[in-house]
């Protein structure tokens, strides 16, 4: 049944072509604002996540591993690899002033044919001293104690290909997958995590297959890296310099160093996206206002007729405003929904193509950005409605009705 309330909606339906175009541009604005800010939020969030998951202020690796380990890019792209130094460096490091905690890690890489389509990086922690991986396990609400041959997989390691019956095979050794980490948007997502005992067992298995690169090394006397937490009041850079000074044969990277690769691309990406947001929003805004005022101009005879029937200016304004609001909110909602679906289903692909850590912002932030996108679309409503209302209310209805006769 026709009512004054649904008249705007009926009008929009009646002018389907133009309404579709208006919806498209409203959606464009919403996509630009919501999608763009979500992307920026995503890389920023990725940076924060990586920083917190790295969990250490300084990372020490063997100097000999320079070709395999580049601190600036290791979190963004790296080939699985392993390298070792003498375990005695751990104590040397602990004795340096400003080092609050130091915990060794052991690395290994799976064989290509072993289990999965690609080789996997394995990272093992020392349960007694670890302060980076075990808190992560707790955050993920998994049991903090990994037993022998228990592993946790990163978010990019697929359960399906890696694990059948929660088992994953490395060097013919079956390990139990007990959980999976949330994404960090970095290479940490492509690793498999375990404790020292498990790693040593796997090194042994690897050695037995004749695939271990460092045949002479004793697995009990080596470490791959040392994660360091700096005591409060000490500057990481200063402590890092002290380590470089006093410990031979190591290369030292600070967390700032390590995330700088991500931070750089973050700045670059954010700038580009911000420019795109502005460009597309302006385009959408311009087209919305143009199309809307053109549509209303083409219909001025209808508005004059309504006035002839006794519609007041207030009633005409109400019709105009509600048409603008309906079409823009609907278009905006379509844009937000579409963006949401795309972001959530392709967020890994987006991260890869951005070449930076990408972790979708949390739900409240997402809701906030979606609301901001809708508000930016409503701005177009305000402008187009204001122009049209002004036109409709200042036109001489009697003259309009005489024209075009």
């Amino acid at each position: 049944m026709l009512t004054l309330k649904n008249l705007p909606w009926r009008n929009l339906k009646g002018y389907a072509g133009r309404t579709a175009a208006l919806l498209l541009f409203a959606a464009l604005m919403a996509v630009a604002v919501f999608g763009g800010t979500m992307m920026i939020g995503g890389v920023r969030n990725g940076l924060d996540t990586v920083k917190s998951r790295l969990g250490a202020d300084i990372m020490v690796t063997p100097e000999s591993a320079k070709n395999e380990f580049d601190a600036q890019t290791v979190l963004l792209k790296t080939e699985p690899g392993y390298f070792y130094m003498d375990a005695s460096v751990v104590d040397e490091i602990r004795s340096i002033e400003g080092v609050e905690a130091a915990s060794p890690q052991l690395f290994l890489a799976s064989a290509k044919a072993g289990c999965c389509s690609a080789r996997l990086q394995m990272i093992a922690f020392d349960p007694a001293t670890d302060f980076t991986i075990q808190p992560w396990i707790e955050d993920t609400r998994l049991s903090g104690n990994l037993g022998l041959l228990d592993v946790i997989i990163g978010s990019n390691v697929s359960w399906a290909s890696a694990a059948s019956d929660n088992l994953i095979r490395f060097y013919d050794t079956e390990c139990n997958v007990v959980g999976q980490f949330a994404p960090t948007g970095s290479t940490l997502d492509s690793a498999v995590y375990m404790n020292f005992d498990t790693c040593k067992a796997l090194i042994q298995a690897c050695r037995e297959k004749g695939m271990f690169k460092y045949e002479k090394l004793d697995a009990d006397a080596i470490v791959s890296s040392v994660m360091i937490r700096v005591a409060p009041g000490y500057d990481s850079e200063v402590v890092a310099d002290a380590i470089r000074d006093k410990v031979d044969g190591v290369s030292v990277a600070t967390a700032t160093n390590m995330v700088s690769g991500i931070a750089d691309s973050l700045n670059h990406i954010s700038g580009t996206i911000a420019a795109l947001i502005v460009a597309f929003w302006l385009l959408g805004m311009l087209m919305t206002v143009l199309l809307f005022t053109l549509m209303m101009n083409a219909r001025k005879r209808e508005f004059a007729s309504l006035r002839a029937m006794g519609a007041s200016r207030g009633i005409l304004s109400g019709i105009v405003v509600r048409e603008a609001l309906t079409v823009n909110l609907l278009g905006g909602a379509i844009g937000v929904l579409l963006t949401g679906v795309i972001l959530f289903s392709f967020n890994r692909l987006i991260g890869e193509s951005l070449g930076a850590g990408f972790v979708l912002p949390p739900v409240p932030m997402t809701a906030l950005l979606a609301a901001a996108a809708l508000i930016s679309v409503i701005l177009a409503t305000v402008v187009s409605a204001w122009i049209t209302v002004h036109k409709v209310n200042t036109m001489d209805a009697s003259l309009v009705l005489k024209e075009g006769e």
């Binding site: 026709l2 309504l306 200016r313 009705l401």
Partner: protein, 224 residues
């Protein structure tokens, strides 16, 4: 009810020419009473529509007043005047006045939904459409209708609110003979039912339906 124009005059600004305005309607008096059908004829450009629009409350006179009974139309605020037009004055403007998104029936119902939240008088609208011979086209969209059919739709719409005044600006322009007679008959019937009807036309057939006939020439009104 009685619609009265007292010494109304309309000047329009003119950009070029020697004088900077020209007078479309010279100062004149006019009255329209219930139950009467008054016809105004005259050449195109003589000021008929201008007078009709002033009577309808759509165009403010340069000087003079328009009364509906004791109400001075142009002393009302915009809202009250609009409301009064909606309730008391049925206006059939020149040309097409349909909302293209709505069906014929909905177009006729429009005046009833502007200020009223109750169910619109569908039965009355249907009866009016029957009277104007459009019962078969009630669910059609305006762009499926011919010019004559659209004009008849406008008449049905103008009569929906049972206005005491009905103002029709060339309602038969461009219609064939049969349609012309049908439209004139409808307006006569409205007058017989108590409305004051003003018909602006150049049709010769119209005179036989009207109670009074005036001629407009260069903004001056005279009896024939």
């Amino acid at each position: 009810m009685k619609l009265t124009a007292q010494s109304v005059k309309k000047d329009f600004p003119r950009a070029s020419k020697s004088s900077n305005y020209f007078t479309a309607v010279q100062t004149l008096d006019f009255a329209l009473e219930s139950g009467k059908m008054v016809e105004i004829t005259g050449r195109s450009g003589s000021g008929k529509s201008t007078l009709l629009n002033m009577l309808a409350g759509m165009l403010t006179p340069t000087s003079g007043k328009v009364f509906l009974d004791d109400t001075d139309l142009y002393a009302l605020d915009e809202k009250s005047l609009a409301r009064l037009r909606n309730e008391k004055i049925g206006l059939i403007p020149q040309g097409h006045t349909a909302l293209l998104s709505l069906t014929v029936l909905e177009n006729v119902l429009l005046p009833a939904i502007l200020y009223n939240r109750q169910n619109p008088p569908v039965d009355r609208a249907k009866a009016l459409l029957m009277d104007v011979g459009l019962e078969a086209l009630m669910t059609a969209k305006p762009n499926e209708l011919s010019g004559g059919e659209l004009r008849r739709m406008a008449i049905a719409r103008a009569m929906l609110m049972r206005p005491s005044i009905l103002l029709a600006d060339e309602p038969t322009a461009g219609l064939d003979n049969e349609n012309t007679l049908a439209v004139l008959g409808l307006l006569r019937k409205a007058a017989d039912e108590g409305a004051g009807v003003l018909l602006v036309t150049h049709e010769n057939e119209a005179a036989q339906f009207a109670d009074e006939v005036y001629v407009m020439d260069s903004g001056k009104l005279s009896t024939q």
